[in-house]
Subunit: 312 residues, 2 copies
């Protein structure tokens, strides 16, 4: 390679000064250093995206940089953590300065907008593979878990519509829609619900982010909490684009089974519902009987997780 | 894929209980959680290895799993940090259970031997790419830096011989040696100098691990500390295999420029030399004049970093 690994990371990805006081040392030594404030725990998550698997070859690099980080910040949001730093393991087939400039712009704009620091990374030559580790802090004992939902808790989702990102993917694959712009934006550059996660950690009893579709993701909460649930399909928020799509295709599973919405799905005990201070929609109830059921047009149906995984 | 991503990580890489008390929550939720003890900082490092770039296609997966982690622990060692946890981003072309079993054995044996926990990760489909983030703790203000060497400090290296790993690579590529076993072991499964890093943090003035060869790695210390150095080639520890190789080939640059030894190179002020409590060899002195010089057979030569990078 024409530019050394060290120089590459330095040139495109690091800024002169660290912004977040949690970060004590960034790129340039054998390790980065973080100082976690007393009374806080560190939350961390890793996600990898591979060209041809998680995104199309030739994908817009600026959108890709933003989405890669957003996906990780969404995991922090689901724990109620405040993001503080990220590392980036970047495997690229060649040094394409235009691509790097554009990718780093998308990535770093989101880094800046949350006052994070990129504190470490590794740049290697190989097939395009992008791996991010995002780190956040959360008051000890307050992290939102998947395993703590209780019978009787109400189930909520953030956002204006589930399945938008899934429809965006279908549009990219050729489906024609009159309301393409918003769902395409959701697909290419989802907004992580970081502020919502921080707000709900005071009263939510469990939380997960919607990466694989609510049927699959909620089932993680149900299994880990040893409970079941009924989802009310008629209450699930839908954008006009997704409503129109369902009217045309009768593919009403899309908002339950399509991935990458990156909304939060969380539960709240009935006595805490009055504390809710974010925009969200109640879509179901936790029940003691295991399994995920749903109601649609007044009819309740049992549909196991396997059924949904098959569709996702 | 036949096995879900979640199941894969669970099956091969996670154990039922967390061992290290720093780790509060492992694989299975949106994030892992760590609780850093009061008075400590978190040190973290990321390294990626790509098939065909960092290791041969068809490399022994057990050795690969061990080396991947060892390389990261070596970075923690260079900061004087005690390793506590790791995450693994595993991109694999297919689910090969034999390969996964062998790779995870090598990886997890080293995890266990340092009482670490694998607390997170992501498994994706794609060209074989392995990315590890290792995390350690170090008392606040005691992390060993690259930027703190002072004129007059003595330069030391750990281990019995530099260039062993580089010779191991040459043997893999066809060079014939009568003492192949030890250098091949060094090449395939280097031992990170974790305990040495912890011991020297009390008195060392700077430190780096030898991943690219001492000429290149020491130059990072020199540049970041705004000093220079003279290396005494005649003092550099050499194994019999490397000595024999140099006798035959006159390639005396090998121990200075070959990478992957993963020894520590550190500096100690003269007044602290009596504190040294690990096996190591003095190989040079920090000087005020910038640049890296070396002595060999009584002659001092100037050789810039570029010269060495050319060879590495």
């Amino acid at each position: 390679m024409a530019i050394s690994e060290f120089g590459l990371i330095q040139r495109y990805f690091t800024s002169a000064e660290l912004i977040n006081p949690v970060n004590r040392l960034g790129v340039g030594d054998d390790c980065a250093l973080m100082s976690i404030p007393d009374g806080y725990e560190l939350a961390l998550t890793v996600d990898t995206m591979v060209e041809g698997v998680h995104f199309f070859a030739g994908a817009n690099p600026e959108q890709l940089g933003k989405k890669l980080l957003a996906v990780n910040l969404s995991d922090l949001a689901a724990m109620g953590a405040t993001p503080v730093s990220v590392t980036l393991a970047l495997t690229i087939p060649e040094i394409n300065e235009d691509w790097l400039k554009s990718f780093s712009t998308g990535f770093l704009n989101l880094v800046k907008s949350y006052s994070l620091d990129l504190i470490g990374g590794d740049t290697t030559k190989g097939p395009l593979t992008l791996s991010v580790q995002a780190m956040g802090i959360v008051p000890k004992g307050q992290a939102l878990r998947r395993s703590t939902a209780k019978t009787g808790d109400l189930i909520f989702v953030t956002g204006q519509g589930l399945g938008d990102s899934g429809l965006g993917l279908k549009i990219e694959q050729g489906y024609q829609s009159e309301n393409a712009d918003a769902v395409l934006q959701k697909f290419h550059t989802p907004e992580p619900r970081v502020n919502e996660g921080i707000k709900i950690r005071e009263y939510a009893s469990s939380c997960i982010d919607l990466s694989d579709g609510i049927a699959s993701d909620l089932s993680h909460i149900l299994k880990q909490s040893s409970v079941g649930a009924v989802l009310d399909w008629d209450k699930v928020p839908l954008s006009k684009a997704v409503s129109d799509y369902i009217d045309k295709t009768d593919d009403w599973l899309l908002p339950l089974s399509a991935g990458e919405d990156y909304e939060l799905c969380f539960t709240v005990a009935p006595e805490n519902v009055s504390s809710i201070n974010i925009e969200c929609t109640q879509v179901g109830v936790i029940e003691s009987r295991a399994g995920l059921r749903f109601q649609r047009l007044g009819v309740t149906k049992e549909l196991g997780v396997k059924g949904f995984e098959h569709f996702s």
